[in-house]
C-alpha cells in the first residue's frame, strides 16, 4: 500500500540532476521524459526528424555549391530590391526574418496566456502569429515571382551555377510549406481556444483525449521550429 502511494506521488519527488539524472530517468522502467507529456515528447521527436530533412537539404546545397566550377550567383545582389532609386541588398529577406521572429514572440506569449487560462488573449495572440506567418508566405510568393520573372529556373539562371535555382526552390519551398501548414494549425487551435474547448476539456476529434491548454505549447514548439529553420536558411543560403 505504501508503494502504491509512492508511485502516485512519483512526479513530485525530487529527481537527481545532471548525468546521474539522465541515467536515472532513462533507467527508471517507467517513462523516460519525466516532465514532458506524450504530446510534447512526440512533437519534439517529429521536430528532430524534420531537422534531419532540412539538414539533408542544406547539406545537398553545400555539396553542389562547393563542387561547381561555375561561379555561384551572389545572393546579396540577387535578392536586392530597388527602393528609392538605389539597390538595397537582401532587404526583403531581412524584413521576412523580422516578421518571422515577431511571430515567434507573439507565439511565446500566447503559450504563456494559455497556461494562465486567458482565452481571449491566447486566441488573439495566436491569430496575430498566424497573420505574421501568412505575411511571411506572401512575401515569399512575391520573392519567387520576382525571381521567376527574372529567369530563375530549377535548371538554370542568368547569373551563374544552375544549381542555384534548384536548391533555392527546394529549400525555401519546403520551408514555406511548413509555414503554411503552421498557419493552418494555428488557426485551428486558436478557434478551439476561443470556443473554450480546453476549459471544458472537450475531446479532440482525432485522439479522443481530453483537450488541454498544453496543445498551445505544442503548436508553439512547431512554430518556433519553423522560425529556427529560417535562422539556418538565412545564414547558409542568403548570407553565405
Amino acid at each position: 500500500m505504501a508503494e502504491t502511494a509512492l508511485t502516485q506521488t512519483g512526479g513530485t519527488l525530487a529527481r537527481p540532476e545532471g548525468w546521474r539524472g539522465i541515467a536515472a530517468d532513462w533507467a527508471s522502467d517507467q517513462r523516460s521524459f519525466k516532465t514532458a507529456s506524450w504530446g510534447k515528447t512526440m512533437m519534439w521527436i517529429f521536430l528532430l526528424s524534420d531537422t534531419f530533412i532540412f539538414s539533408c537539404f542544406l547539406l545537398s546545397y553545400m555539396t553542389v555549391r562547393s563542387s561547381t566550377t561555375v561561379p555561384w550567383p551572389n545572393p546579396s545582389e540577387v535578392f536586392s530590391l530597388h527602393i528609392g532609386g538605389q539597390d538595397i541588398p537582401l532587404i526583403l529577406i531581412a524584413i521576412m526574418t523580422f516578421v518571422l521572429i515577431s511571430s515567434s514572440g507573439t507565439m511565446a506569449m500566447a503559450v504563456n496566456y494559455g497556461y494562465r487560462r486567458d482565452r481571449f488573449k491566447t486566441a488573439v495572440l495566436m491569430l496575430v502569429t498566424a497573420a505574421f506567418g501568412a505575411t511571411f508566405v506572401g512575401m515569399q510568393a512575391f520573392e519567387w515571382t520576382k525571381l521567376i520573372m527574372e529567369g530563375v529556373r530549377p535548371w538554370g539562371n542568368p547569373w551563374g551555377a544552375p544549381q542555384f535555382g534548384s536548391t533555392f526552390f527546394m529549400i525555401t519551398g519546403f520551408h514555406g510549406t511548413h509555414v503554411s501548414i503552421g498557419v493552418i494549425f494555428l488557426i485551428i487551435i486558436a478557434r478551439k481556444v476561443w470556443r473554450g474547448d480546453f476549459d471544458v476539456e472537450k475531446k479532440g476529434f482525432f485522439t479522443s483525449r481530453k483537450g488541454r491548454y498544453e496543445i498551445v505549447e505544442i503548436t508553439g514548439l512547431y512554430w518556433h521550429f519553423v522560425d529556427l529553420v529560417w535562422v539556418f536558411i538565412f545564414a547558409f543560403f542568403y548570407l553565405w
Binding site: 519525466k34 514532458a36 507529456s37 545537398s60 541588398p89 504563456n112 494562465r116 518556433h224 529556427l228 538565412f234
Partner: protein
C-alpha cells in the same frame, strides 16, 4: 479541473500559478518580460547578421560572424521560446545530441564535394558547364 491522472498540469490550473517561479513542473510559467527580452535580442542579432552582408565583410570574419549570430539565435529560440532550458536533461540530450551528429555527415559531404571539384577541374577544365 480535478483530474487525478494529470497531477502535473494541476499546477497550471491553480489561480496562483502565474506567480510561481520557473521550475521543472509542466505548464511552463515564466514572466512575459523574459519573452520580450529574448525577442529583443533576436531582433538585435538578426540586425547584426544583416549588417554583416550590408557592410560586405569577407573571408573568415564574415563566416565566423554569420555562424556566431546563427548559433546565438538558434540557442535563444530553443532554450527560451521552446522551453528547453526548463526540460529535464534526459529530453534535452535526446533531442539536441542527434542533430550535432549531422556534423559527421557535413564532413563526409565536404570531402566528397572537394573530390568532385578536383575531378571536374582536372578532367573537364574550368570552363562553364564543366
Amino acid at each position: 479541473m480535478a483530474h487525478a491522472t494529470a497531477h502535473a498540469t494541476a499546477h497550471a490550473a491553480e489561480p496562483g500559478a502565474t506567480t510561481r517561479a520557473a521550475g521543472h513542473e509542466e505548464g511552463q510559467q515564466h514572466p512575459i518580460k523574459l519573452y520580450l527580452v529574448v525577442w529583443g535580442w533576436l531582433f538585435v542579432l538578426s540586425t547584426f547578421s544583416y549588417l554583416v552582408d550590408y557592410f560586405h565583410l569577407h573571408g573568415l570574419l564574415r563566416w565566423g560572424l554569420i555562424l556566431l549570430f546563427m548559433m546565438l539565435k538558434a540557442g535563444l529560440i530553443v532554450a527560451f521560446f521552446m522551453h528547453m532550458k526548463w526540460e529535464r536533461l534526459a529530453l534535452t540530450y535526446a533531442i539536441l545530441l542527434p542533430p550535432i551528429l549531422v556534423l559527421v555527415f557535413v564532413a563526409i559531404m565536404a570531402s566528397e564535394s572537394h573530390y568532385t571539384l578536383f575531378t571536374r577541374l582536372n578532367f573537364f577544365g574550368a570552363g562553364p558547364g564543366g
